[in-house]
């Protein structure tokens, strides 16, 4: 009475086939990741050492370490965060909590989505025109970070808006019904319940700019500097540009050096991501509803 019918058999075969197919595609996805990391580790591993991280490049960048570039990238990303997070979060709060649902809001949303699609080289040119020349920041960390901030604003806004919208509407209604204003509602209920999502999402998005090269190479990053930046008005070296330089612009660089630089760069991005994820897990543990 419980034997398989022919239909059951056929369904089971189909089931196996699909399962295998989807699994394959997932496997395919992992291949490039493994390959990239593998090649980098095998080829760049020998270049790595504590000294590599903490010394300056020497011999016309053919030897020595990446210290100034490492510090420069940290500066760039940190300042970019400082610029884009307040603006992006405020804009997202406005769009999600205040803006009426009309054509103007929809237009703004559309613009934000499109802004996210603008190629980074275009941002670079904008950065030169706006921050380096018009605002007279010169070739500096500030100009480069502002450019990076503009580049990431759309994703910051989208990530923030998603976190805000994950807060149940019932909470807002409860507040409004007690006569709370929008701001009281936002400050006392909406933000406390979305801040973890906002921060982690935003850190994750902004850390992606660690690897951006085009937007900083005309605005703040330079090939080689013998000293570390002292303020945001100094130019700086950066990991991504350094990688570009040692792998294409300098003849006679030892083979493993560019791979070592790339490995450090990837390591930085992964560290940021890991931190952000750890932060999220930690905060989710304290989630309130």
């Amino acid at each position: 009475m419980f034997e398989a019918t022919e239909l059951n058999d056929r369904n089971r075969r189909a089931e196996r086939l699909w399962r295998w197919l989807f699994g394959m595609m997932t496997g395919l996805l992992i291949v490039p990741v493994v390959l990239i990391l593998g090649v980098l580790i095998v080829k760049g591993g020998p270049a790595l050492s504590i000294d590599f991280l903490f010394t300056e490049p020497t011999d016309g960048m053919r030897a020595g370490g990446v210290f100034p570039a490492l510090i420069g990238t940290i500066w760039l990303v940190a300042v970019a965060l400082l610029v884009s997070v307040p603006i992006g979060v405020a804009a997202a709060v406005y769009l999600s909590e205040y803006a009426p649902d009309n054509w103007l809001t929809r237009l703004i949303n559309l613009c934000i989505i499109n802004l996210a699609g603008v190629p980074s080289i275009v941002h670079a040119l904008f950065g030169v025109g706006a921050f380096v020349l018009f605002f007279k920041f010169g070739i500096s960390i500030l100009a480069a970070s502002c450019t990076l901030a503009v580049l990431t604003l759309p994703v910051v806004i989208v990530a923030t808006r998603e976190s805000l919208q994950a807060v149940p509407q019932a909470f807002r209604e409860a507040c409004w019904n007690m006569g709370a204003t929008r701001w009281q509602t936002i400050r006392r209920v909406v933000l406390p319940n979305s801040i973890s999502g906002i921060l982690t999402g935003v850190i994750l998005e902004v850390s992606r700019t660690t690897g951006e090269t085009a937007p900083i190479m005309f605005t703040g990053a330079v090939f080689l500097l013998p000293f570390l930046p002292q303020s945001v008005f100094d130019p700086t070296m950066a990991m991504s540009l350094h990688l570009f330089v040692v792998s294409t612009q300098v003849p006679g660089v030892p083979d493993e050096l560019p791979y070592g630089v790339a490995l450090v760069l990837i390591g930085m991005v992964l560290c940021m991501n890991a931190l952000s994820i750890a932060f999220r897990v930690y905060l989710r543990g304290k989630k309130k509803w």
Partner: protein, 259 residues
């Protein structure tokens, strides 16, 4: 009408020719209702007849939806809530609302009770404990939560959550409590407890309660309003409505012949 002394009025809520449209859909038709001060009035009627809409227009929360249009007049304690110098925040302070699903805020029990008071700046460090205790006592919740005021409100049972949702309205001393099917998410025991509470609050507040539960309307209200398709069909003393309804539609509904 914020804090001035109003002489006891006869009607807590009085509407005349109240019409309401959601876009082009008309949800309320010429509603003339006079809800007496200090008693419990229940509101019954089939699903979609506009009960919630009526409640939400009395504290003007429907206006949050940009496409809502209202005509007519609503007076709360004799004051027009659409008047020119009316502050919405004050309307919502005087007219509290309880929802179908208990919706405590994701804060501690204590902070939930204090939320309204803080919003309207009615609390100071020294009065806080008193406010919390008195509100929770009024909703018969104090004894069971007094040792865990710092616990998240969402850890309470649904019945307790709903009581808390009522308690958090009280510190701002509202005049009217609107309750939209406050028991429909609760089990029979919870329902009974909340009904008891409503009866307890009777006299201190004017209570307007929407319910789909005939027995509840009958047990727990002084007067009863029957609505159908956005119109008020009948409004009398509860026992009268259930014993000798004046309209056929009312009788049909009460006997369960529609929704």
């Amino acid at each position: 009408m914020a804090n001035e002394v109003t002489p006891t009025v006869e009607h807590a809520i009085e509407t005349s020719k109240l019409n309401l449209w959601y876009g082009t859909f008309q949800a309320l038709f010429d509603v003339d209702l006079a809800i007496k001060n200090g008693i419990v009035t229940s509101m019954i009627g089939p699903s979609g007849c506009g009960k919630s809409t009526f409640l939400r227009s009395v504290n003007r929360i429907v206006e949050r939806l940009g496409y809502v249009r209202t005509t007519g007049r609503i007076d709360v304690h004799g004051h027009d809530i659409f008047g020119e110098d009316v502050e919405l925040v004050q309307v919502r302070k005087q007219v509290g609302m309880v929802f179908q699903r208990p919706n405590p805020l994701p804060l501690s029990i204590r902070d939930n009770v204090l939320f309204g008071a803080r919003t309207h700046r009615l609390e100071t460090k020294s009065t806080r404990d008193e406010i919390v205790q008195s509100a929770l006592e009024q909703v018969l919740l104090w004894d069971s939560v007094k040792d865990r005021l710092g616990a998240r409100a969402t850890t309470l049972s649904l019945e307790e959550q709903q009581k808390l949702c009522i308690a958090r309205l009280l510190p701002v001393k509202p005049r009217v409590l609107l309750m939209d099917e406050p028991c429909s998410a609760l089990d029979p025991k919870g329902t009974e407890a909340v009904e008891e509470l409503i009866w307890e609050l009777r006299g201190q507040y004017t209570i307007l309660i929407v319910t789909h539960n005939m027995a509840q309307a009958r047990r727990a209200s002084d007067e009863c309003v029957f609505m159908l398709m956005g119109k008020v069909i009948e409004h009398t003393r509860t026992e009268e409505m259930f014993v000798a309804p004046a309209h056929r539609e009312t009788a049909d509904y009460i006997e369960g012949r529609y929704g």
